[in-house]
Symmetry: C2
Amino acid sequence: MIAVVTKYETVGHPHYPVTACLLPICSLNNMAVTTTEGIGNSARLHPVQERIAKAHGSQCGFCTPGMVMSMYALLRNYPEPTTSQIMDALSGNICRCTGYRPILDGCKTFSKASISYLNVKCRKAQKSNFPLLFNEKEFLPLDKTQELIFPPDLQVSESWMKVFQGERVTWYSPSTLKELLELRTKYPEAPLVMGNTNIGLQTNLHGVFHPVMISPINVHDLYTVAPDDAGITIGSAVTLAQLKTILSESVHKLPKHKTKTFQALIQQLRTLAGEQIRSMATLGGHIASKLAISDLNPVLAAAGAQLNLISKGKYSDLYKRKQPMCLIQVCRNISTTKKCEEFVSAFRQAQRERNAYAIVNAGMRVRFGEGTDMIQDMDIFYGGIGSTTLSAKNTSQALIGRHWNEEMLQEACRLALEEISITPSAPGGMVEYKRTMTISFFFKFFLQVLQNRNKTVSKPLVIYLSSIKDFDTEIPKTLQIFQEIDTKQPARDPVGRPIVHLSGIKQATGEAVYVDDMPPVDQELFIAFATSTRAHAKILSIDETEARQVPGVVDIIRAKDVPGKNAVDGQGTLFSEETVECVGQIICAVVADTSDHARRAATKIKIAYEDIEPAIITIEDAIKYKSFYEPFKGIKHGNAEEAFKTADHILEGEVHICGQEQFYMETNSLIVIPKGEENEFDIYVSTQDISTSQFAVAAVLGVPSNRIMSRVKRVGGAFGGKVTKPAIFASAAAVAAQKTKRPIRCVLERGEDMLITAGRHPVSGKYKVGCMNDGKIVAADVSFYTNAGCTIDESFLVLVVALVKMDSAYNFPNLNCRAIACKTNLPSNTAFRGFGFPQTVITLCMPEHMTQQNNK
Amino acid sequence: MIAVVTKYETVGHPHYPVTACLLPICSLNNMAVTTTEGIGNSARLHPVQERIAKAHGSQCGFCTPGMVMSMYALLRNYPEPTTSQIMDALSGNICRCTGYRPILDGCKTFSKASISYLNVKCRKAQKSNFPLLFNEKEFLPLDKTQELIFPPDLQVSESWMKVFQGERVTWYSPSTLKELLELRTKYPEAPLVMGNTNIGLQTNLHGVFHPVMISPINVHDLYTVAPDDAGITIGSAVTLAQLKTILSESVHKLPKHKTKTFQALIQQLRTLAGEQIRSMATLGGHIASKLAISDLNPVLAAAGAQLNLISKGKYSDLYKRKQPMCLIQVCRNISTTKKCEEFVSAFRQAQRERNAYAIVNAGMRVRFGEGTDMIQDMDIFYGGIGSTTLSAKNTSQALIGRHWNEEMLQEACRLALEEISITPSAPGGMVEYKRTMTISFFFKFFLQVLQNRNKTVSKPLVIYLSSIKDFDTEIPKTLQIFQEIDTKQPARDPVGRPIVHLSGIKQATGEAVYVDDMPPVDQELFIAFATSTRAHAKILSIDETEARQVPGVVDIIRAKDVPGKNAVDGQGTLFSEETVECVGQIICAVVADTSDHARRAATKIKIAYEDIEPAIITIEDAIKYKSFYEPFKGIKHGNAEEAFKTADHILEGEVHICGQEQFYMETNSLIVIPKGEENEFDIYVSTQDISTSQFAVAAVLGVPSNRIMSRVKRVGGAFGGKVTKPAIFASAAAVAAQKTKRPIRCVLERGEDMLITAGRHPVSGKYKVGCMNDGKIVAADVSFYTNAGCTIDESFLVLVVALVKMDSAYNFPNLNCRAIACKTNLPSNTAFRGFGFPQTVITLCMPEHMTQQNNK
């Protein structure tokens, strides 16, 4: 969920988008928070809501409020944004079913500069009976005077320290540097929290607990922005988004040669997380917490930026953290470059352009003697290869006095490879890849500097010049081609017409009710699961003692509490007490008054295991141990064995396809409400298959299924992942509801969901094809192995789908094919868009392709 | 709802049944409250629950928990009660659909003395295939060791004054007489509350408000029970149930001649309210508050009982209440009678034996000189004929010295009629009847004394001797005759078999969920109605000001708030703003956080009216003003007019049948829950006709009816009254839910329900019948008028039913009949068990009966 936070006194834009899950409530003192519900509703839409919805930008709708608010934040600050600003603004939002094109289409209607969206310009679009995807003339205008004002009540400037005392955590928000330093001394272990993008991840995802938090959000001294001749002094509390704005403004104002560092930083900032995170994360926090991986630190180091630290005791080394109470006061001199020829560059390589940590990054600076290509001074810093930013100090030193030519390049690479050693145990691994990147970055730097100095690039290197071009992020073109509507088609017939999603408007306004939007039910409890940490083990003991001491815990649900069958059809044991067959298998569950209490208690259940050998993980393991679900499925035509004997050529090979997480936006969510009579339950489940959950719940409770009223209103994405798996959670929650006689809410965290539910089946296909010289296939023998996981669940179905596909897509005169589900110690895999088709098609394409190749 | 309250230190039995609606929460300090949920559930039944349910004692089930708890209270005190004790224990419980026979059947299985219930002894019951209604051998035994113990935490004896401060009321519970007298002086207007059976009625039903209440429940001095030679001293705080026990025990212990007053009091106590009320109401409260109507006061007065009063100031006259702070301390000398011949008798006449105030009652005492029939001393006191108990002082005085004979009787009657004057404006009216009763009671007294003195009753009076016999309350005989089951009938075929109600057990244990048992819904509000106090008037103004100031009020719902049609199909306007057509018509509604706030605010809505003439109330009025719903319905056969000319006899007449309240145990109850999207609502209604409410709600909201999910789980009685009327309340609540976007709960109080919903149609039938000398009817002309009320609603249906009945039950060769619905200024009448049949049958029986009479 994305919200917009508005702060009264702030540097830069007062409205900024945030990811709500990372925002501690205490940090919102005196700020205004706006969600999509606050800007409009279906009775009185906000233009952003209207345009995203009517441009078909909402499908399951779970991401839509976030898209709306990111765009809203942009519009509050830039009422006529450019397409690139729009794309930047939305880059932190994920959509899994709509795709981004229609969302951008809607948003781009706000952009005067680029009415570049092609509103359904089909090749035949001139004809009048060709419908428009949407008609922007109908849209409400954006009217700044209609926007929410900052609440006058919050326009206060409080100058005293605030202390918030929660159940377990004390939050200090000092108002002066002095108070801050005192707190830092008093609580040396307490983290400094500003945007919470770092600490928040630790606490939300990794269960890190801090009894004291110090938030210097109100310490004005930390917000300095002071440009001077030497550069610019930036306070540590300035956010990355503000930094980007400040640097960009400086780039516009100052002569180009003075801002080379700024540009290198801007280049890194553009891909450093999304706009929401940049709006929350501070420069100081980034420098201090992202020691190993920071994209900015190598650039700052190479540029010789100075960090000003302060502490109540003595100054200390930030990087080594010997003195825990040291504090970044300001990060100074993100320097201007001198007039003499100096170049600063930044590099990063990540798994994708945005929203991913760099695998390796670098900052490099070189200064030449005036009018020469002789290196006067040089700095090379790398990130991602050690616990902090690393300097290639020896390399840099050794190159001083050398000319900027290919010999120097060769030497530099040799020296750098020598100097930068990456231990095989380095976090993230990929040692060889990283080593390659370190010299590859220097190679790019070499070329950049050459080109920027307008020097000729020697012939052999010219072909590499493209490598220094920025990756060109294409503005998506919105050309959608669809069928022309027959003039005789009645107006009421929707086929072929672009009709806005019936719930689109409500999804954009937040009025759409997903399971977890349902208001609390009287006496409701929350359920959290304790799951196996072993792939294959015997459970020796389960100790509830500590878990039961967590406040708010009402009960712990175990196998003995299941009144009916302790299993979900096709999905194995519900609560495992004897053995576990995969990591993530549910062992027991905690019900408590809040999700926080339930989750905390679940982590405190002590389970002792004794591993059972073997733990079968891969298809290869399964083949080795002959661990299959039998009987195999197969199809046989003709006589493949005989036909192979007649074939001119026999081709054999294997194809391996990995699994994949569905990553529906809405994690598994449900509410089970006991009706108070006769074991009747209302269950509200986010599922694609309403009756599987109904029957499963009935079976675990041991009641007829007509006692279970199963309801689905909305599903925030599923892609096949919510067919059978929700039944596990519904069943567990139902047992808890039956035992406690109270409603149970179950909403998984992303990590839990991915841990327990698995996804697309990994597949290994083995094929043997016999073909004649003319390329005609005469015989095929195909084995299709799927990694089913620890229960068979939906795997037989994927096999059947695969077999049918094999048999129907090609006409093999002599076919012998088998589909084999491997029993492994993984959570059982499930349906996924295409369910069996892609894997089969790839497997079958391979011999087809090869025989064609062969034929050529 | 009946609960059992257990008090640690108490006179008599610690467990006593109470009516929960009269029990102030503050009075329960240090007491244990047990409801049916506390004694068992369907997993572990209490024997009382089991026996009532399995003896078929639960139909709609709404009264069952009360029945269970009344019986439970009895069993806690008397594990083997007599049938008469059982009947006494249940006499305060009302059942409307089961009837009392099966309930008593179940309860009587606890009674060792009388296994008198006849378990389905059909005439052919000897045959083996004749099923038993229930098999008592299967029943759980009553095991005292399994009963709840008094919670040790509550076994405290606190000796300080308790003060409870509510939103508007302060409750003082002094612990000493001194504190009590001080409070009484400080708050002279504050009522003394013990059982709350008097004040509770005032506050619950009549909106009387007391900012301060004083409850001397913990003042030990008021609980005195001190027998001595002269009689017995009873504290004012002793309950009527305790008094009954104390007196009964004395009657057993003392010689008969000493306890004549006791017996007279016991006789009155037996019919004075039900056991629950007697368990709560105190002797002091009864004497002081029931001045006009008390059944005990005339007896106490006649017996010369002495009241001891105390106050901080001076003693005062209780009856005249000149000194408001006077206080009954003890009521003393409920005297023993002397050895000489003295007689005390008590009399009462009420509309029914129990649970009804007496119309007139009396206490009479006479003492004769030893060995003579000469009146030495005499006292006659009457209740019900003035504002306090009245003494026939002159009559008594004049008779002293007279012999106890018929001359004295004549004289006494003459004197009494002269002395006791009843003004025509006396409360309750019935002046002539009451005058008759005063001498009739004396006549009974005369006969009783004669008989008790073993004197001959003269011939002319002998025939009246039966009048002094107690009305013989017959112990119901449980003979149920039903069809013998065919031996070939399969075991699974339930027809003819006595099968326990499927929900019987849950209804007995309180697990059955009626609408108002549904737990609170998040953000729920309560609705209360402001209704018309005029039969026919124009509304001049509606002033909400004062109502909106009541705490907790969220909104006031009026005609303008109805988004769709401001009317319920067939039932007229939903919220009336222009005119009202009956008393009880809904004008507007208040929604507030609690039912108390909503109701309080509703009474504060100021509505100004201007009466419109005429106000048509009766069928006669309607005929006079020709106020009919047209067209009339009619059936015509042959030629009645011609046939009348040939008839030997023509009989004409009229029959008038009054209306009747359905008196379902569960008043109209519903919850409307907005789903948060698209005007979708879940409605949970106690109705016999689920779709009428659904369609009505859809119409007032102006949405398709598929948006309204209408649900009925249980109905706590209906009898035809919950077919169409619930739609009014559901519609009003839905408008409120739609406006406030919050769930709305609507549960009517009994008075509101009776005011707004009406009941069985009053009917006037006019008939003219022509018959021959042999009794054969040749022609009939029948007009059947129903009082439909201000809208037609279900009235046309009752007419159709009536006509069909007329036409089908008799074969009139020449028939001319009309059924006419009268439009009157009453709430529209509705279906009722038999709907039209009883009225029609009575109307048709009259001429039939008369022609038969005629024929004889």
